[in-house]
Symmetry: C2
Subunit: 347 residues, 2 copies
DNA sequence: GTGTTGTGGGACAAAAAACGTCCAACCGGA
DNA sequence: TCCGGTTGGACGTTTTTTGTCCCACAACAC
């Protein structure tokens, strides 16, 4: 860290917290504008008075405007947000944590965003935004992108810029899967990605849970075969990471399945695979979808998951993840991951 | 100013004041250590409680140590002071003021130090220190240095480093002058300079106020002639700037002289010359000493004066000062100077 | 030796600031 | 037109800060 900044912090230890708080508030306003005090205090997890005090200050500094419909970030506020973006990551120790996580998880790129999406839902949007930026930076070289479902993936699609269209992009739903909420299933997300970027989309409508016979039969269908072929040529895989149990419940898995997941000690889930705490596959959903091997040979992989509640799952998944995987997460998750591994080392 | 710093200030407007306050306290402790709360509150012009609150914080930050003899700056504190030195000048707007003063006074170098030596006596030491650093940087090229008297000059001599000796340096008392306090007269100061730096010294013991006849006679003395010769070869002149009236009173000038100084509208005094507000010489002490012309043809000139009470005098002196003059002053004086000239422009 | 002076730290009532919590007035969209 | 959201004002209560003592102690001059 900059020695000047370090000296500043020595002289003003309260600076860091204060800066983080105000930056977070300003950021949340930007993400949710126009927004009022009460809604804001919900999102930021502070009391209304606290929010009021800070927003009064921000307004005096002309960083936000207060209309009757809510508060809005001014141009100056946007400039401040942008100017402080990297600095805030540094001052919060995020850059240091990124380094630690990189070596711990054995991957080349980790991006940690401020705060904890468990506490502040808006952080998810922020994660989504940065994941979107990262993904967009891959577009020039990588055209075939496989995407999975989940609310995290939905957040990314929301933040994809629709400025420059590229009709050579091809988005592939990584799984069939009608089990979950239609808004968050892979097909919907893939369509949304395509819509935002001007690319094309390949969807796959198939139930998640098939019987062995039905599965075998389906795999012989030309449509499905074509998809499996596409998975082989995938340039980028973008996926979330879930907590095994939560996902299983969401999917209304059969009791038999839940039992296998539980007894296998499954911790995390990603693109239909369940992993135990050592990163071994203990179960996979029997459906048409991208295979683990196909994921691992993809040139680029973006794993996106935030919130301290996902720390164990992330840790589990990365036990055996491909080294070319990039992790985009948040402070809460990162902190918890390091906490967990430190304790393990001490014992 | 750094755009990052600007953004920080936007988000934390209280930062600047707080930083300045704590930095100042830390600086004062360093200058006066070991020092107690009560003495410190006197120097810093704050209440004891205020000082206590801040020193408690500084102690928690391990920037100072509290012994029973008083508070002391720790090594870490020294590092912080050093790291923040330039930053504080920038954040306090001193760098901007330096630029303004440079163009206003028509000189190439202005150095402004924090705070006001009228309020905080310790600031004088700080001015002295920086003037000493500046002077030392001239030593390699400039060997013949003429110095005047005064408390400001005494402050410089205190801060001269005695690390590397240079016996080719030659210090010349710029004036005879037994009129003032022996500790602050040019001869003493010159000796002190020489002692600190390892150089030699040329002193000149002569009363300040001579009759016309005695003056003429003295000027024909070989010792005096030699001095006048030396003045011609001076490489650097270091001098203070005083308020005309104060100096006149200190010197116990005759009523006739005081009258001439008053009626001439003298505002400032430097090396025995009195200047009016337009920078014209209205009177000079009849004694052996460096001539104005000799000063002005010197390759380097350091004018050192601080405190808002000296603003008018500084302004007066610089109306006709040589462009190669460097001014070392403090925030209080600089602020007042700009205030005075702004008002004048508005009218 | 011994008294004096300055030190940091503890304590506590008073003053001030921050806080939680209402409410009125207002605007915009259904 | 009404409803749900907004801001800004207000105010009693709580928490923090502030001013001001005192005390035990160490250093220092004598």
């Amino acid at each position: 860290m900059d020695p000047l900044t370090e000296a500043q912090q020595k002289l003003m230890p309260e600076m860091t917290e204060l800066l983080k708080k105000r930056y977070q508030i300003l950021l949340t306003i930007q993400m949710e504008e126009p927004i009022g005090r009460r809604a804001l205090s919900e999102l930021a997890g502070s009391t209304e008075r606290e929010i009021r005090k800070e927003t009064d200050l921000l307004r005096n500094q002309q960083l936000i405007k207060a209309k009757s419909s809510g508060m809005t970030v001014s141009d100056e506020g946007l400039a401040v947000l942008d100017a402080l973006k990297d600095f805030m990551r540094d001052v919060s120790g995020l850059i240091a944590m990124e380094k630690q996580l990189k070596s711990l998880l054995g991957i080349s790129r980790v991006l940690i965003l401020p705060q904890d999406s468990d506490d502040i839902p808006a952080v998810k949007s922020n994660i989504g935004k940065e994941a979107a930026r990262l993904l967009e930076s891959l577009f020039p070289q990588h055209k075939k992108i496989a995407v999975t479902g989940g609310s995290t993936m939905a957040a990314i699609s929301k933040e994809l810029s629709s400025d420059k269209k590229d009709n050579t992009l091809q988005f592939i739903a990584a799984r069939g899967g009608l089990g979950e909420d239609v808004l968050h299933q892979a097909n919907t997300i893939a369509s949304s990605f395509a819509g935002k970027t001007g690319g094309s989309v390949k969807t796959l409508y198939l139930p998640d849970h098939l019987s062995a016979e039905a599965y075998e039969m389906m795999m012989r269908e030309p449509v499905i075969k074509e998809m499996m072929n596409l998975y082989d040529q995938t340039d980028v895989v973008v996926h979330g990471i879930g907590n095994a149990e939560e996902i299983a419940l969401q999917r209304q898995s059969s009791t038999e399945e839940v039992e296998r997941i539980r007894s296998g000690g499954a911790v995390s889930e990603a693109f239909g695979y369940y992993f135990d705490k050592e990163g071994k596959v203990v179960y996979r959903i029997r459906t048409a979808g991208i295979q683990l091997e196909q994921v691992q040979k993809a040139p680029a992989i973006l794993a996106v998951a935030g919130g301290r509640s996902k720390a164990k799952a992330i840790l589990s998944y990365f036990k055996n993840a491909a080294p070319q995987t990039s992790l985009i997460t948040d402070e809460g998750a990162a902190h918890k991951i390091l906490e967990l591994t430190q304790n393990r080392e001490e014992i």
